[in-house]
C-alpha cells in the first residue's frame, strides 16, 4: 500500500507540474494532460511493484538465512498475493473513499446531465481494479521469479488497457466489459500459476477432501 501511495505521489507531482506549466483554460489540453498523467501513473505503479518485488526478495533471503530449517516462514507466492492486495486496497480506497463520503450527504446523482449510474459504475470499476491488482501482483511476481519477461509485459499492457478503457467513460460499456473480461483472464491465469488446476476446482465443488 505504501509503495502504491508513493507511486501515486510521484505521478501526481509530474501531472501537477505539467498542469501548472500549461494553460488552464484549454480543455482538450487539460484532458490530454490528464490522460498523459494516467499513463505515466500506470507505468510508475508497475515500476514500484517491481521495486517492491526486489525489496521482498531481499527480505526473504534474510529470513531464510536466519531461520532454523532453511526455509522462509512466508513464501514468495504469499508475498505476491499480499503485495497485490495491498496495491489493490490502496488504489480502491483512494478511488472510492471520497465518493463514499459524499454519497452520505444530500444530493442527486447526475442532476446536471451526467450519468445517473455514476456511483454504481464507480463501485464496480473499483472492485474490478482491486481484483485485478491482486492478480497482477501474483502474475508479476511470478514473472520476476522465473524471469519470464513476457508475463511482466503482459501485466503492464493489461493495466494500460484497463486504464485506457476508462477513457471512454461515461460510455460504461466500453470500460466495464473489457475490464471484467480481462479480470477473468487474469484470475484464471493467476490461479493456474499458483498451482491450481481444473481438477482442484472440481474436487472443491464436489466437496471431496
Amino acid at each position: 500500500a505504501f509503495f502504491w501511495l508513493v507511486s501515486l505521489l510521484l505521478s501526481s507531482l509530474i501531472w501537477f507540474i505539467a498542469v501548472k506549466a500549461s494553460d488552464p483554460r484549454d480543455e482538450p489540453l487539460q484532458r490530454g494532460l490528464l490522460i498523459f498523467g494516467v499513463v505515466f501513473s500506470v507505468l510508475l505503479q508497475e515500476v514500484f511493484r517491481f521495486l517492491y518485488y526486489n525489496l521482498l526478495r531481499k527480505a526473504i533471503e534474510g529470513l531464510v538465512a536466519l531461520s532454523e530449517d532453511g526455509c522462509s516462514p512466508i513464501s514468495i507466492q504469499q508475498m505476491a498475493y499480499v503485495a497485490g492486495v495491498g496495491f489493490g486496497l490502496m488504489s480502491g480506497a483512494f478511488s472510492m473513499i471520497n465518493l463514499l463520503a459524499d454519497a452520505l450527504g444530500p444530493g442527486t446523482v447526475g442532476i446536471h446531465g451526467d450519468s445517473q449510474l455514476y456511483f454504481l459504475t464507480s463501485a464496480f470499476m473499483t472492485m474490478v481494479l482491486i481484483f485485478l491488482h491482486t492478480f497482477w501482483g501474483i502474475l508479476f511476481f511470478h514473472g520476476c521469479e522465473h524471469r519470464r519477461w513476457w508475463e511482466i509485459a503482459a501485466v503492464v499492457v493489461m493495466h494500460l488497457a484497463v486504464s485506457g478503457s476508462t477513457f471512454c467513460n461515461p460510455l460504461y460499456v466500453g470500460s466495464l466489459v473489457p475490464s471484467y473480461l480481462l479480470m477473468a483472464i487474469a484470475a484464471v491465469w493467476a490461479y493456474l500459476l499458483s498451482g491450481g488446476s481444473a481438477q482442484n476446482v472440481w474436487r472443491f465443488l464436489l466437496c471431496k477432501s
Binding site: F2, R31, V38, S67
Partner: protein, 467 residues
C-alpha cells in the same frame, strides 16, 4: 465555551506540562525498555543469574546462545510486535478521526492555549509565519524545561512528587476532559441527558481508569484506557493549536525527540540510563504495554510471592488475567506464542512450570527485577507517540482539502514509519525515538497529498478515469 478556554489554560498548565515530558519520556522509555530487555538479558544473565536463576551452570551457554538467537528472535518477534502496535495506534487514530468528523466542537476555533500566545489571524503571511514560529518555540521550551525537571526529580529520587504529578494529570484527563468530550458528543447527537446520569458515568469511568492505569487491572482494559486518554489529549491539541503552529510543533518535536534520545547528554537518555542503573522500570502509567509478565504467572500460585511481586510496577499485575500459559501455548493473548516458549527454553534452560520449579522460584530472594525480563520482551510504546500520531492524522482529517485521501495517506505513512522504527530497533538494538520517522513520513505525505494528489484525484474522479 468562553469559560472553558479560560479554565483550560490553568488546567492545561498543570496537565500539559505533566504529560509532555512524560510523553517524551515514554517515547524513549519504551525504547530504552526495549533496548534494555535486549541487553539486559545479556547483562543480567551474566551478573544476576547466579543468585536468582538458580541455574548458574547454564550462564555461559545462555550467553553464547543469545548471540545467535537474538538475531533470529528479533526478526521473528518483529512482525508480531509490529502488529501488536498497529492495532492500538490504529484504534487511537480511528477514535480521533471519528470524533473530528462528527463532533464539530473540536474543529471550532475557541481560543488558544497560554502556551501559544501569538495568534495566527494576522494580516500578512510573514507575520503569521513569525507568530507560529514563536508559538512553537515557546511550546518546545516548555517541554524541554519540564523534561529536565522530570529528569532532575527522578535523579534525586523524588518519586512521591513524580507520582503525585502523574496522578493529578491522569485525574484531569479522566474526569474533566472526558466530561467535556461526553458533553460535546451528546450535543452533536442531540441526546437528552441529566446531570445525575452523567455524574455517575463520569465517576465510574474515571475511577476505573485511575485504578487500571495506576494500579491493577485487566490488560485489555488498561490498554483501552490508555488509548482513550491519548485520544482525548490529541483532541485537545487539535482543537487548541492553530494551523501552522501545530505543524511546526510536530516537526520540531520529532527533531527534539531524536536529539533527546540519541545525544549522550540528552535528558531522556540520562533518564533511561539512570533507570537502568537502578534496575527500575519507569512510570507505567505513561507507557502502552502490549504483553504481560510471565514469571509472575508462575508465582501466582503462592500468595507470598504475590506480595513480593506487588511492589513492582503496575503492568506486572496483568498476569493474573492470562493464566495457563504453559498448559496452552496457543493462547496468544500476551504474545507468548509457541516461538516464545521455545525461545524461553533456549534462554533459561528447559523450565516447565512444575510445582517444584515454582517452589524454587518462591524460595529465591525477592529480587523480582529479573522477573521483568520476559515482560520487557513485549513491545511498549510511549503515550506521547500515540498522541502525536493522532494529532497528525486528526489535523489531516480536520483541515485537509483532500479530506479522506489525505487522512488515509497520513495513516499509512505513520504506520509504515512505525514499522521502520521497529525494524531499526531490531537492527540497532539501542534506544530509538519513535516519533521522527513516522512524523516525517506523515508530514511529507500530508502536504504532498493535500497539494499534489488531491487535484489529480479530483480530476480523475470527475472524468471517471481510473489509474
Amino acid at each position: 465555551m468562553t469559560e472553558l478556554s479560560a479554565h483550560l489554560p490553568q488546567f492545561q498548565h498543570g496537565q500539559l506540562t505533566e504529560n509532555f515530558p512524560d510523553n517524551h519520556l515514554s517515547n524513549t522509555n519504551d525504547n530504552s525498555e526495549r533496548r534494555r530487555h535486549e541487553s539486559s538479558e545479556r547483562g543480567r544473565n551474566d551478573n544476576t543469574d547466579s543468585e536468582t536463576n538458580g541455574q548458574p551452570q547454564t550462564n555461559i551457554q545462555q550467553v553464547v546462545e543469545q548471540d545467535e538467537d537474538d538475531e533470529e528472535l528479533t526478526l521473528k518477534y518483529g512482525a508480531k510486535h509490529v502488529i501488536m502496535l498497529f492495532v492500538p495506534v490504529t484504534l487511537c487514530m480511528i477514535v480521533v478521526v471519528a470524533t473530528i468528523k462528527s463532533v464539530s466542537f473540536y474543529t471550532r476555533k475557541d481560543g488558544q492555549l497560554i502556551y501559544t500566545p501569538f495568534t495566527e489571524e494576522t494580516e500578512t503571511v510573514g507575520q503569521r509565519a513569525l507568530n507560529s514560529i514563536l508559538n512553537a518555540a515557546i511550546m518546545i521550551s516548555v517541554i524541554i524545561v519540564m523534561t529536565i525537571l522530570l529528569v532532575v526529580l527522578y535523579k534525586y529520587r523524588c518519586y512521591k512528587v513524580i507520582h503525585g504529578w502523574l496522578i493529578i494529570s491522569s485525574l484531569l484527563l479522566l474526569f474533566f476532559f472526558s466530561f467535556i468530550y461526553l458533553g460535546e458528543v451528546f450535543k452533536t447527537y442531540n441526546v437528552a441527558m441529566d446531570y445525575i446520569t452523567v455524574a455517575l458515568i463520569i465517576w465510574n469511568f474515571g475511577v476505573v481508569g485511575m485504578i487500571c492505569i495506576h494500579w491493577k487491572g485487566p490488560l485489555r482494559l488498561q490498554q483501552a484506557y490508555l488509548i482513550m486518554i491519548s485520544a482525548l489529549m490529541a483532541l485537545v491539541f487539535i482543537k487548541y493549536l492553530p494551523e501552522w503552529t501545530a505543524w511546526l510543533i510536530l516537526a520540531v518535536i520529532s527533531v527534539y525527540d531524536m536529539i533527546a534520545v540519541l545525544c549522550p547528554k540528552g535528558p531522556l537518555r540520562m533518564l533511561v540510563e539512570t533507570a537502568q542503573e537502578r534496575n527500575e522500570t519507569l512510570f507505567p502509567a505513561l507507557i502502552y504495554s502490549s504483553t504481560m509478565i510471565w514469571l509472575v504467572n508462575m508465582a501466582e500460585e503462592d500468595p507470598e510471592a504475590q506480595r513480593k511481586a506487588s511492589k513492582n510496577s503496575t503492568y506486572d499485575k496483568q498476569a493474573p488475567a492470562n493464566q495457563t500459559q504453559n498448559e496452552d501455548p496457543e493462547a496468544d493473548d500476551g504474545g507468548f506464542s509457541q516461538e516464545w516458549q521455545q525461545q524461553r527454553d533456549n534462554r533459561i534452560g528447559h523450565i516447565e512450570s512444575t510445582p517444584e520449579s515454582r517452589a524454587a522460584v518462591q524460595a529465591l530472594p525477592s529480587n523480582f527485577q529479573t522477573s521483568e525480563d520476559p515482560e520487557e520482551r513485549g513491545v511498549k510504546l510511549g503515550l506521547g507517540d500515540f498522541i502525536f500520531y493522532s494529532v497528525l492524522v486528526g489535523k489531516a482529517s480536520a483541515t485537509a482539502s483532500g479530506d479522506w485521501n489525505t487522512t488515509l495517506a497520513c495513516f499509512v505513512a505513520i504506520l509504515i514509519g512505525l514499522c521502520l522504527t521497529l525494524l531499526l530497533l531490531a537492527i540497532f538494538k539501542k534506544a530509538l525515538p519513535a516519533l521522527p520517522i513516522s512524523i516525517t513520513f506523515g508530514l511529507v505525505f500530508y502536504f504532498a497529498t493535500d497539494n499534489l494528489v488531491q487535484p489529480f484525484m479530483d480530476q480523475l474522479a470527475f472524468h471517471q478515469f481510473y489509474i
